[in-house]
Symmetry: C2
Subunit: 500 residues, 2 copies
């Protein structure tokens, strides 16, 4: 039998004597990446070199073919991909809750790729499984659960973490649902605020609960859930014969950055014996700050918490944790005892084989980048970085709150880094509130945003909300940003919007 | 206002003039990684330097602290992490369906980390969104859907892909489930084989269908679903008033590597109007091989297909695709119209904002590594690599089928790279089939496996299945493996097991 391997690159590993070519190829790629990284932080480069989808499809041949390409062509593919990529680490990229590019986080992600393993068992990911254990315990400590006790998992994003919470809350109340399904249990209802993340409804749809069974609680003008409305709706639901099983409070809403009043909500959950979940995907990071963590007071009374270090803590995507106060529940809820993975006669302590508590089978190693960044910065380093971003948001707020041509969407100092505002072009200033003004104002932010992308100078998000037409939602999670970048953003909005 | 940023590493980017330190730090990390990569392929190094969990916790201080560490310490953390990691690219690591370390895949994953973006909109991931479009279309072409038409998404693993299929199948039949939940629709049942992956049940538990509503169809002695049993159970379920909504066939079962008879199953699904899903997480890769793709004949009749390039195609973890024949269904099923993400008044073609078809909100870029590997190898390169792994499996089968001390778990040439066998130590050879023999044989594989890990020379999986006690399940998905590595495995099993 001939022992052949037809490799398109006979010189790359695993071919024998492939070391030299491999090292040189990977080094070439790294050189391209280092250049990109340095450029990402350079304010003289564009955030984005924008092309419309049909243009981008034509700029380069992206198609997949039968025949291999050369290593030179592969390097060209890399350069071309980066040419059209958004520089998400750029100090003037404010478009999402996840921005920035942490150097230690990047290094950790590169190591994760080289280790290329899976989180299901200690057997194949010994270090990463231990680090997940250490890191989740530390996060639970910061939530305020004594000794960091409890359970948890890193999941592929906040939406999935929130879905886990809903899944576990349902199982806690009606464990028979696992075998018998929703047909065997009463009609459930969940509660969350009208400003909460859409993943709560998405989860309810997926889990067979239905979006109609997610009751949206009213918010005050700052976007915080009104506890009295929550209690009223719980009582109402019970009177109709429904079973309230979950309240999902939000610590840091997506648009306003509002923190629901967790203590009042905890009291209500306790009174009615309802699982209290806190979606702190965005706001959880403030637990690292001695100055700001009071905004999450009451979180220690939650049954579960979503916290995405890939947002406010600047960990590379993805890194989202679900923390659960009661140990063992996730395992009972999700385990299927696959004997080919979770053999019970292994020679080591099986409590480290955590895979069966997940909905996923294979699970990417998301912990290492957070762990390494935490080692590098210490809790105090995260604190400094987060305090800085909040200080920048306050700077922006102070700058525009009384400035001509700006209207704030809600009054008062922002609680998180979200600053929501309308830019009013000169032509609309002084115009009375009317249908015409509203319909013209609605178009301002989209046009400015489109121009920003075409010039490539900066990016910031906008959206309508309820009866409020399109407004800018500025957020800051990139410690690379400075006061000058905030000044730049305001100048740019005015430059691009003055003729509207 | 002072524009300060208290960084634990004032010399790393984004601090100004941080380029030099950053480049040198990242280069140091890359040097550590390149050394690890080269060692991964070196047969004279161990696959694993095994330590029990409590030992590993004591070998190093893994704890998280308030204070930052130095860059030197960060490099030491990286070295220590890799010291205890499993070399999943090692030619003698056969433990999982995902093995190997592809150099182009690794480079692509490093680029993905540097680009650090999110798949929800074209706005923030223009290239990656286009590449997902191009790659999924190509995969659908290979499945056999005319022109590559249809829909799909990359999801965080096969279990989630399978859950998507169940979710979409349910929605297709009863779209009202999204709002009204399971309470509003009849009792559903799904069918899958007794050898199928546990994620089908896990999905049913999560979606509120319940594991009792997953009916396990009998398999023949090769692990293939028996179509007549499927039809019988469908008829039976309907007679009981249940509504069959999904058949999940498997193309490449986890343990036996069996391919369910897809054509016969498609006929049954058509007859009873049931959604046909094919879980090709493991076997899908064979679609790249002109020699082996016949094993998936009939897959073109499926309504949805799970296919994990991170398994048989050697793409770094994670890379799993769900393909759906009907376009638009995923979007209708999952969309929640979050206006802060999916603004309807953007200036580009919104059909590229694919985020609302996902269950996830944020979604990691999993496509680039597959796309770049495909460019590098071409379809023919993947084909050569897969054919080689199958040839190695056949070599192993031929070597042990008549060898003293081996018993095959099922007869005949393997259809995939799974080779399932018992090693019978000399003390059990010739012993009559008895309770004693069974109970002693049960312990053989776990002991040999534990010894393999302690010596660190190789790793292969074992498990019981039904009434069959612990047997080895050998799988080959790493193109680095050679005939000599197969010979080594057999020698090692005999060396470690002869005294049992």
């Amino acid at each position: 039998i001939v022992n052949f391997y037809i490799s398109p690159f006979p010189d790359l590993l695993p071919t024998c004597n492939g070391e030299i070519t491999t090292m040189s190829f990977l080094q070439d790629v790294v050189d391209i990446l280092l250049q990109y990284v340095v450029k990402s932080f350079d304010r003289s480069t564009k955030v984005i070199d924008f092309h419309y989808p049909n243009e981008l499809l034509q700029e380069y041949n992206w198609e997949l073919a039968d025949q291999p390409q050369t290593l030179e062509e592969i390097l060209l593919n890399c350069r071309t991909t980066l040419k059209y990529a958004i520089k998400t680490g750029h100090p003037r990229y404010f478009n999402q809750l996840s921005t920035g590019l942490d150097m230690v986080g990047l290094a950790a992600d590169w190591l994760t790729s080289a280790a290329n393993t899976n989180m299901f068992t200690y057997e194949i990911a010994p270090v990463f499984v231990l680090l997940e254990y250490v890191t989740l315990r530390k996060m639970r400590e910061m939530v305020g659960w004594p000794g960091g006790c409890g359970d948890g998992i890193f999941s592929p994003g906040g939406a999935i973490s929130n879905m886990y919470a809903m899944l576990i809350a349902r199982f806690k109340m009606f464990p028979e649902v696992k075998e018998k399904g929703m047909a065997a249990i009463p009609r459930l209802v969940a509660f969350t605020s009208e400003h909460s993340h859409f993943s709560v409804k998405k989860g309810a749809a997926a889990l067979g609960i239905g979006t109609d069974s997610v009751i949206l609680i009213r918010c005050d003008e700052r976007g915080k859930m009104i506890p009295s409305d929550l209690e009223r709706r719980i009582v109402e639901a019970k009177q109709k014969g429904f079973v309230p099983f979950l309240v999902s409070a939000t610590a840091g809403t997506t648009v306003y950055g509002a923190f629901d009043p967790l203590i009042a909500i905890a009291d209500i959950c306790k009174k009615y014996k309802i699982w209290m979940h806190v979606d702190g995907a965005w706001g959880g990071g403030l637990l690292m700050s001695r100055k700001h963590k009071w905004k999450l007071n009451g979180i220690e009374r939650a049954n579960s918490v979503t916290w995405n270090p890939h947002k406010m803590m600047g960990v590379p995507l993805q890194c989202s944790a679900l923390l659960v106060r009661e140990e063992g529940l996730m395992q009972s809820c999700n385990q299927m005892h696959a004997s080919y993975l979770f053999q019970q006669d292994k020679h080591y302590d099986l409590s480290y084989d955590t895979g069966d508590k997940a909905l996923q089978c294979g699970r990417h190693v998301d912990v290492f980048k957070l762990w390494l960044m935490w080692r590098a910065k210490g809790t105090t380093g995260f604190e400094a970085q987060i305090d800085k971003c909040l200080e920048l948001a306050e700077y922006l707020y102070n700058k525009i709150k009384n400035r001509e041509g700006y209207e704030m969407v809600f009054d008062g100092k922002p609680q998180h880094t979200n600053v929501c505002f309308w830019y009013i072009p000169p032509s609309l200033r002084g115009m009375e509130d009317s249908e015409e003004r509203t319909s013209r104002l609605m178009k301002v932010a989209p046009v400015i945003k489109a121009r920003m992308m075409e010039y490539g100078t900066t990016m910031v998000s906008y959206q309508p909300l309820g009866d409020k037409v399109n407004f800018f939602r500025m957020v800051i999670s990139n410690p690379a940003a400075t006061h000058q970048d905030i000044d730049f953003l305001i100048d740019e909005i005015e430059r691009l919007g003055q003729d509207l």
